[in-house]
Symmetry: C2
Subunit: 274 residues, 2 copies
Amino acid sequence: MIFFSKKMKIVLLGTGNVAHHLAHRFQAVGLSLAQLYGRNLEKLTFLANALQCPFTNNPQALQLDADLYILAVSDGAIEILLQEIEINAKGAFHKALFVHTSGTIPSTVFAPFAKHYGVFYPLQTFSIGKQPDWSNLPMCVDANTDQQLIVLEYLARQLSPNVHRITDAQRATLHVAAVFVNNFTNHLFHIGQTIVENEGISFDLLKPLIQETAAKIQHNSPQTMQTGPAKRGDTVTIEKHKTFLKKYPFYNKLYDLMTKNINDKKNHLFALKK
Amino acid sequence: MIFFSKKMKIVLLGTGNVAHHLAHRFQAVGLSLAQLYGRNLEKLTFLANALQCPFTNNPQALQLDADLYILAVSDGAIEILLQEIEINAKGAFHKALFVHTSGTIPSTVFAPFAKHYGVFYPLQTFSIGKQPDWSNLPMCVDANTDQQLIVLEYLARQLSPNVHRITDAQRATLHVAAVFVNNFTNHLFHIGQTIVENEGISFDLLKPLIQETAAKIQHNSPQTMQTGPAKRGDTVTIEKHKTFLKKYPFYNKLYDLMTKNINDKKNHLFALKK
């Protein structure tokens, strides 16, 4: 069992977007990494050099005496990496806390390997070259014991004031919703871009609208913010749009589906009742 | 024919969200309204009092000697209002410039009524109680003569530095795209909210992600910013999500359609080729 301290030994596994931003945030708040692990040697040396921390690309060469091992790797790599580390063969690991940063993988993936485990999930989209806003970044934590959950809460609060206890089931729900509001929303932006650029119009004209659409729901319910021809039942405009969209079969289909649903009270009530 | 001056006489018709924010912006940049017209007497007196400007709810009582008449009313009301004003019966109107603020109605709606006409379309979503960011708000202008177009450009530049000449056809395209990136995006936010709140989770947890999704495409192409299980072809996660979504038939259908399209190169190429 471990306790939170500013001097706790943390090993970070991963060199992707999440690992990159977590590592830099740890350093920014005065928590240094004891070791960085990565499979991709180029990314690994680049990040380790930036952080000035020890590193390895050999899962067998991990430091054995760290307090916390954070697996910030892709979903599919978590279990494989746990097997490679050969935790069970090394008793030294048994007091350590193991966590991953995934939105979808249950915390119980650790059960066959570790005694203390949990989740350390930053609910945000990260890209290299764009600083996330840590002042409000939701950190979702979970652990298999209350004591270790408290440790993770303390640690998460070093990174962001916005910390939540989220169970595996809740995290799975959040992840589905995140696909709608992040991945699918971004695809709508792509569609908007395609439509205007095909007619020689710059996508830049739509960017302030996109920013305002996201800004509006920060303090208002999306339901009350809904506008547009579908909401108004403006069939004249809807027909104009559908004529325009004839050359885009998929966009046309999506337009129908959205338009049908936006004002479908029954569907909405159904959704709310489950 | 009219010319731009800071003292030009402007009559604004409408008391909805667009009229409200346009009126306040005119006042803020030192352009006072000669008269405000509205059908809804309560909204009309409220806005006219805030602006301290003359007002009427009688379309026959409009000032006849204004330079510019801006119809900031709903799409369906534009033509009706033009008939009510009885422009043709009043020769005085013939030197004035008539514009509307609609994203969908062709400028030629004015042709039977006015000699000089155009469009003054702010490409943004407005709500009462939320200040729009005028420092970057795209103002789309058009007119039936080059001379009057220049007047509208000058006027628009008083409100925002982001002014564009946009034809009727281009505006129709922008409006379709705006439905995707604004109305449909907002509906995705509503779906995200429904999904999490039905499981007792606060929608607040998704808000930073929503803000970042919009922020990312301000300086990057949506195509390069696309992430998620559909983009990765992560069928394990997609199957988990579809199991979860069984209780939401519409969301499930939408999930399928989006997932199928996000990585469908053929569909994308088709869209780009038209």
